[in-house]
């Protein structure tokens, strides 16, 4: 809502949770959290936790939605009522409808949809605890789930948020920072080719600041992607 910078969010170079401006919160990731899904993952950035499950490719109903020359991807981003301090009433709202769409568009370029005409890949993202940067956390979980599901893909998708508080650019906004930021930007890329698949920016920035934000995002997405890859490989080489 209103971006107020009257709250001091960086003191002696440290953020409210003790991080330096360029630090990402501790990240944890695990696979196979939903037994019957074709692929699933849970990802936490600090206190923000997202669970993603992928079903499909599977037969698409209603039939009129089927495309004879390509498959489709459907996404649902949803916040659990208890994920935030003030209970969120269950079900889709305007915010989640928009985020579901941008998450879909962020993932879609990575998938060879043409490999499964008339079918769908359904990606469900549930935010079970929210402390800022929920959509990017959800995208990171969804991308892991897609690979685990064996979906045919060009690349993975990795996302991170970058923002500006107290005139300083910071990486991975927590909830307090998000509410009081001068600007926040959500970015997703396909790391192999550095293609942007999601870019949403709020707040006020100069062009130079936008370009700096993007280079921060790129650098951090590459680091996060290394963690994603390590986890996926460990699934089959561990023990």
């Amino acid at each position: 809502m209103g971006k107020k910078s009257d709250v001091q969010l960086i003191v002696d170079g440290k953020r409210t949770d003790g991080r330096a401006p360029e630090d990402v919160r501790p990240i944890s990731m695990r696979l196979d959290v939903v037994s019957r899904a074709n692929g699933s993952a849970e990802v936490s950035f600090g206190k923000t936790t997202a669970v993603a499950a992928v079903y499909g490719p599977r037969t698409l109903f209603p039939r009129f939605m089927q495309e004879s020359d390509t498959g489709i991807i459907r996404t649902r981003y949803n916040m659990a009522p208890f994920s935030v301090v003030d209970r969120k009433s269950p079900g889709p709202d305007r915010r989640s409808t928009e985020i579901s769409k941008v998450v879909r568009l962020a993932l879609e370029p990575s998938i060879f949809l043409e490999d499964f005409p008339k079918a769908t890949i359904d990606v469900y993202v549930e935010i079970i605890q929210a402390d800022g940067s929920t959509r990017v956390t959800g995208i990171n979980a969804a991308s892991l789930a897609l690979v685990a599901a064996g979906a045919p893909m060009k690349d993975m998708v990795t996302a991170v948020s970058v923002g500006k508080i107290d005139d300083t650019l910071i990486v991975d906004l927590n909830g307090t920072e998000d509410q009081n930021s001068q600007s926040d930007v959500a970015v997703a890329i396909m790391p192999r080719t550095d293609r942007i698949t999601l870019l949403q920016m709020d707040g006020v920035l100069t062009k130079d600041e936008v370009m700096t934000v993007l280079s921060f995002a790129k650098e951090n997405c590459h680091k996060i992607n290394e963690q994603q890859k390590k986890l996926l490989l460990e699934k089959y080489t561990g023990e």
């Binding site: 499964f116 685990a148 045919p152 060009k154 690349d155």
Partner: protein
């Protein structure tokens, strides 16, 4: 067994005039993996065996299917895939049948299980099945096991060696479908199922054959 794994977007190698098969894609001269799996490169083809994923039919595959509905002149077959296959009467029955007078459910009825071949797949994923060969048949009773389709080759083994071993030791009839279904009937069904599930879990690890031998005693 080589356990080097690749992820989507990983470079596997240069194409050098070779075919690029399942689980891969090409950009310029470079062949990349499209899935998490084990790369396989020969002189003619580069492919990746995926570690997971649903079954997408390819012509020539041998699959286990369940009759979903009986149509006027054939059957719709569930092949454990986002797509169903159509089995035309002429691809299933040798004798002459007058479809205007006769209900063809006396050959195959809803729920019947068949071992058949994918004979045609269009670009839009219209799939045709056929039973016009020596191996295709109707499968009576028995249990059906659902495994990751890409693990089927490991269950079959080199020239059928692995599945032969299980058949011998458990005295079971076993049919393996490339669509990830395994049909089993016999005395020691439980032992066979246990073994196959172990192979599925550990198919990418070394010393699999020894482990199977040990397990079957």
């Amino acid at each position: 067994m080589d356990t080097k794994l690749v992820l989507p977007g990983d470079l596997i190698g240069e194409r050098k005039g070779r075919r690029f098969g399942r689980g891969t894609f090409v950009e310029g001269e470079n062949v990349y993996s499209a899935v998490l799996g084990i790369p396989r490169a020969s002189e003619v083809e580069i492919s990746v065996i995926p570690m997971s994923g649903v079954y997408l039919p390819v012509m020539g595959d041998r699959v286990i299917g369940t009759i979903k509905s009986v149509e006027v002149s054939g059957w719709t077959v569930d092949i454990n895939s986002p797509y169903t296959a159509f089995l035309p009467l002429a691809e299933a029955v040798d004798e002459y049948v007058d479809t205007s007078r006769e209900d063809i459910s006396r050959f195959f009825d809803v729920g019947d299980v068949i071992f058949c071949r994918i004979s045609k797949v269009t670009k839009g994923m219209n799939v045709q099945a056929s039973m016009r060969d020596m191996m295709s048949r109707k499968l009576f009773s028995g249990a059906i096991l659902n495994v990751t389709p890409s693990k089927i080759p490991r269950i079959i083994g080199k020239a059928g060696s692995m599945v032969q071993l299980i058949k011998q030791k458990t005295k079971c009839d076993i049919y393996t479908g490339q669509n990830g279904l395994v049909w089993i009937r016999g005395d020691d069904k439980a032992k066979a199922i246990e073994t196959i599930l172990m192979i599925e879990r550990e198919s990418h690890l070394k010393g699999l054959t020894e482990k199977v031998e040990k397990m079957l005693g």
